[in-house]
Amino acid sequence: MEQSRKHFLKNMFIGAASVPMILSACKKETVATTGSGSGSSSGSGTGGATCTAAPEETGGPFPTITPSSLVRTDIRDDRTGVPFTIKITIQNTNNSCAALAGAIVDIWHCDKDGYYSEYGGTGMQSVNYTAVHFLRGRQTTDANGLVSFTSIFPGWYSGRATHIHVHVYNAAGTSLKITQIAFPEASASAVVLVNTTATGYTKGMSGYTYNANDNVFSDDTAGVEIAAIEGSVSGGYTLTQIIKVAA
């Protein structure tokens, strides 16, 4: 199967290579193949179908190397909610839990209504590129092993306690740890106050899955995955958490 596919592709490239000769026969300066994508599309040798106008314009755009759009401090995009600062410190268990500088930290969490950014709908549904990765971010730890993100306090969805996903990589991008941060949930906790009193958070706490019943956090009886959270609904909250990795 794979072999025949390779053969097929190979033939297509031979077909594509013959296109410039057909085109040169057109004796028209402004013809060319239709960009880099055509190598895998044309091979029928009909010529006319690929004989299209080439760009005749002032040069540009001039592409420059751009980091992933995940690399940012403010991960809100168009999402609204209670202001929330996330401070995560990465420590290295292979170095007496000293701060790990230069580690890459990805985080992602749901919005106030419990939704993640993702492709929705059917296979080819289009998305606007300006706000597609809301509440997802990436930072590199500083000399103190710290990364900070500006976000909104996450809501919750059925079956899960409030949480933040974290993926820690070394500087080369190799995965060191995939984990989640849990939230305190006592009566005056941020989770309770935000969900029952903050504007826009409409779910309350009815039907909420507490940490003890959460399928990810229920085994964390010592509470090491539960972050410290300070602040208020009006002034916003700050989360701090230490995550230990073996680097």
Binding site: T30, T34, G35, S36, G37, S38, G39, S40, S41, S42, G48, A49, T50, T52, A53, A54, P55, E56, E57, P61, F62, P63, T64, I65, T66, P67, S68, S69, L70, I104, D106, S117, E118, Y119, M124, Q125, S126, V127, N128, Y129, T130, V132, H133, R136, H167, Y169, G173, T174, S175, I178
Partner: protein, 171 residues
């Protein structure tokens, strides 16, 4: 007569043989991002190819979306103009705000297997007529001048399709 409003889709394919500077940057960035993000679904490193990962770990289907973050910056550099699809005067005229990124194939051990597509969805255009294998179109409703509506001739070509069609009564 009904007025036909269409949105085009140009499916730009980028692989190891792509030669343009922009295409190469997209290739390299998206492969690096794939290597990073796929580790979430492949924690035991059991799978090398994207196809086998998809079959074994269905949730890895999200990698299309997740890896798309690596190309957003490059989309912004296009300033809203669809690449590679000029009108018959050789000018790029098609505008886009929407896209969809796909991983066609990849392999954590072999960058040459990495192949992606960016689907550019044009902003709505009016399709007036068809001349041979050219479509006579206007951006949006068309700019009205003393000579009538301004138009572009767009040649049918591989990897370019009409994504959606809406018919409206002429006003």
């Amino acid at each position: 007569m009904k007025k036909r409003i269409v949105r085009f889709c140009y499916r730009k394919i980028i692989d190891a043989s792509s030669e343009k500077a922009w295409d190469k940057l997209v290739f390299e960035s998206s492969y690096k991002e794939f290597l990073m993000q796929s580790q979430f679904y492949n924690q035991e490193k059991k799978y090398n190819g994207f196809a086998e990962l998809l079959i074994s770990v269905p949730a890895s289907e999200k990698l299309h979306f997740l890896v798309s973050a690596s190309v957003i910056g490059y989309l912004q550099q296009l300033k809203g103009i669809v690449p590679d699809v000029p009108d018959n005067l050789g000018k790029h005229f098609m505008k886009f705000n929407n896209f969809r990124f796909e991983i066609i194939n990849s392999d954590i051990k072999d960058s040459s297997a990495h192949k992606v597509a960016i689907n550019f969805f044009s902003d709505p255009m009016t399709w007036h007529d068809t001349l041979d294998n050219y479509l006579l179109v206007s951006a949006g409703d068309g700019e009205k001048t003393e000579d009538g509506l301004l138009t572009h001739l767009l040649q049918l070509q591989p990897l370019l399709s009409i994504y959606s069609l809406k018919e409206e009564d002429e006003s």
